[in-house]
Amino acid sequence: MVMASLREVCGGGFAEAASGLEAIEQLALGPAALMVLDLNMPDMHGLEVLRFVRNHPAFKRLPVIVLTTRGDDASRAAALDAGATMYLTKPFAPHALAGHVRALIGNSAAERA
């Protein structure tokens, strides 16, 4: 569902990573306008990925949307502390994610301009 809505927003311009390490690899290899990060991944926890990304000068300002099934305040605070731009709790409507993605890509494009 998440993938489908992203495909709809980005067309073909999005890549999928099966693990936290792969996500970092893809960021390192190709320019990305935005990352949608699930917290539950097989190897690294999403928050670790996020912290790593925020530590890297090239990705400091990359918009990151964190997806999680845990909607409690502590998880939200932890994600925002680690540098999440936005925090979405599953389940959410596909068009909601699509809307946020569009808005954030627009913002960072405007910032770059």
Partner: protein, 644 residues
């Protein structure tokens, strides 16, 4: 992530695995002891198993860079290697060196766990080298068991590699085939990203070269020279790869505590639901009411199953404590020149993990006391008409909701006169006449009490028994003493099976409500107030052909009394120890969540904790055995004063 030890997450696993290997090692060394004493040929399978255990500890210690443990394990392993596969004799000196080496290994690992500097291992290593070189190594047996190396593997991804299908996930899959991945983390490497893996396993040069062509750099991190790859008799990666059998999950105890807390909250919520349902019952037609009530009862039953299931998860065999004792007893017997036969029973009795960890030191202390103070010298025993070998019994059993642990010896018994003299010298007032066991126990558990002028090494300091008793009482347990001169001493520890949730009877006194853990109550009886007689301001009621001292909670807590047709009495203890605790009314049985009152300011003897019955009010949980003991003591004093 950066700057942290790459082993941080692995250390718990390391300690747990070391514990397992050390447990195996202790068992095997004990089995080998008679063989060593006779200077016989050691059974090869035991030697082999010992060897493997040391080998594993060496491997994982190397991985976490605990060099002292690795070194010790290496020397222990070396000695076993020369014993292995040959007609070598295991000598008593050799066995002693192994035992000393294992003790040092335990201390080294414990020091790391507690964050201390490791102890010096030079002497031990020296003695291990001595016993090893006393047997010429068989030249035909090469060193086939060099430990698997640990490798730092760095992968720098690139678009070119990605085009060839080489990315971090495929690299990871390759590493996984070659060994075991200890850690994997991304690194910022001069502006670009690289991945660093720690891999345990045997890598050969060809593999390393092939990897290099694919952007994978490999370097050994183990201090030992890169292990020679040969027809290793241990399967690849053995000793480090085998972290746990796949059907066993190690869980941090705090996670189980958290689960227990959540279940506790559930129990309280259900009690609230029950109370709310009771309020609307009269307004709901019975036909509609019945299913509601049935569902509520089903939930209660399921909640109980859930609670019991979790409790079972936390239970571990008491054998965890007992397993160390043969070594302690053996060493003590050797140091004191006594002969001790240790008998252990009921090792399979299960008890809460938290309790067992807290009970280790108290039981150890009682065992040490029994050997160094309880049991006599062989000559004295023979003179007293006993066998020269003293008997020490360590037994465990479950009794209802309690676990009973006994430490008993057939030694000289506690010298009551010496205890009384010493107590008086400390300024503790003791009436003349015979001292009952409970009083004697209180005396020897008094802080600073020791019948010996000099505290010896074996029994530790005088604080020992005091700590034993407080620990047991903190766990809502009870310590009892039986001793008779010339025949021996028996300490009986009673502990609740688990701490947090228990069945309780709900009692009322005036407008106050109390909870009484059901396990403490022998029976609940009604007594006619007219049959109660008052002697020396104490009430006694006839009960089953004897008299039962009555303790009224109303008087104890200063609650106004109203005359009642019958006294409801909880009978606590049996025989002459029995005491009746009287309340106004008993309203039923409930499952309660025990919240302990650890704060010294609110802790009071006779109160086991507090609970919430679902209406949001805190209700005190009474510790009846404590109250009963208090009642008996005052009664005994009154009796003594009266008889003088």
């Amino acid at each position: 992530m950066s700057g942290e030890s790459p082993f941080a997450g692995f250390m718990d696993e390391y300690f747990a695995e070391c514990d397992e290997h050390l447990a195996t090692i202790r068992r095997l060394l004990l089995e080998l002891e008679p063989v060593a004493a006779a200077g016989g040929a050691a059974p090869q399978d035991s030697i082999e198993e010992l060897f493997r255990s040391f080998h594993s500890i060496k491997g994982i210690s190397g991985m976490v860079e605990l060099r002292e443990a690795e070194m010790l394990a290496h020397h222990l392993e070396s000695y076993l290697r020369v014993l292995r596969g040959r007609e070598s004799r295991l000598t008593a000196a050799g066995h002693d060196a192994l035992v000393a080496g294992v003790a040092a290994l335990e201390r080294t690992i414990a020091a790391r766990r507690d964050g201390h500097a490791p102890p010096s291992i030079d002497t031990i290593v020296g003695s291990l080298e001595a016993v090893t070189s006393s047997i010429a190594p068989a030249p035909a047996v090469p060193d086939t068991a060099s430990p698997p190396g640990v490798w730092r593997v760095t992968f720098a991804p690139s678009a070119e590699l990605l085009a060839r299908g080489i990315n971090v996930d495929t690299v990871r899959a390759r590493l996984r085939q070659a060994g075991r991945i200890v850690s994997a983390a991304p690194k910022i490497h001069g502006g670009s990203v690289a991945f660093e893996f720690l891999v345990a396993g045997d890598l050969d040069d060809a593999t390393v070269a092939a990897w290099r062509a694919d952007g994978i750099e490999t370097e050994a991190v183990a201090t030992e020279p890169a292990p020679a790859v040969s027809d290793s008799e241990t399967p690849a990666g053995e000793g480090v790869a085998r972290l746990a059998p796949s059907h066993v999950v190690r869980v941090d105890l705090t996670r189980l505590d958290e689960l227990m807390r959540i279940i506790g909250d559930l129990v309280i919520s259900r009690a609230r639901l029950d109370a709310a349902l009771a309020q609307v019952e009269s307004r709901v037609p019975p036909v509609e009411w019945r299913p509601v009530q049935e569902h509520s009862q089903t939930i209660e039953r399921q909640l109980r199953d859930l609670r019991e299931g979790l409790m079972r998860v936390r239970l571990v065999p008491v054998g965890e404590i007992f397993r160390r004792m043969p070594f302690v007893v053996r060493d003590l017997a050797r140091d004191t020149g006594k002969q001790v036969h240790l008998e252990m029973r009921g090792q399979d009795t299960e008890i809460d993990k938290f309790l067992i960890e807290r009970m280790m030191d108290p039981v150890l202390h009682l065992v040490r006391n029994a050997v160094s103070h309880g049991l006599e010298e062989p000559a004295d025993r023979v003179a007293a008409g006993k066998p020269a070998e003293g008997r020490l019994t360590l037994a465990a059993a479950s009794v209802g909701d309690m676990v009973v642990i006994e430490v008993a010896d057939d030694g000289r018994g506690i010298d009551a006169a010496a205890v009384v003299t010493r107590a008086r010298a400390m300024g503790i007032p003791i009436p003349d006449g015979a001292v009952d066991p409970a009083t004697m126990l209180d005396l020897i558990c008094a802080p600073g009490f020791s019948t010996r002028d000099e505290t010896d090494r074996a029994s530790g300091r005088g604080v020992g028994m005091a700590v034993v008793k407080t620990t047991i009482e903190e766990l809502n347990g009870h310590l009892a003493l039986q001793t008779s001169p010339g025949e021996g001493t028996r300490f009986v520890i009673e502990l609740p099976l688990t701490l947090s949730i228990t069945d309780a009877l709900i009692a009322h006194v005036g407008d106050r409500t109390f909870a009484v853990p059901q396990g403490n109550v022998r029976e609940v009886v009604e007594i006619d107030p007219a049959s109660v007689r008052v002697i020396e301001r104490h009430e006694l009621a006839p009960f089953r052909g004897a008299t039962l001292p009555i303790l009224r909670l109303s008087r104890l807590f200063g609650i106004a009394e109203r005359p009642r047709r019958a006294l409801h009495v909880f009978v606590v203890g049996a025989g002459t120890e029995a005491v009746g605790v009287a309340v106004d009314r008993v309203s039923g049985q409930r499952e309660i969540v025990v919240r302990s009152m650890a704060d010294a300011l609110v802790k009071a003897s006779g109160i086991a904790g507090a609970t919430d019955l679902g209406d949001g009010r805190a209700v005190l949980i009474l510790n009846l055995p404590d109250l009963a003991r208090h009642a008996r003591t005052t009664l005994a004093r009154a009796g003594e004063v009266g008889s003088h």
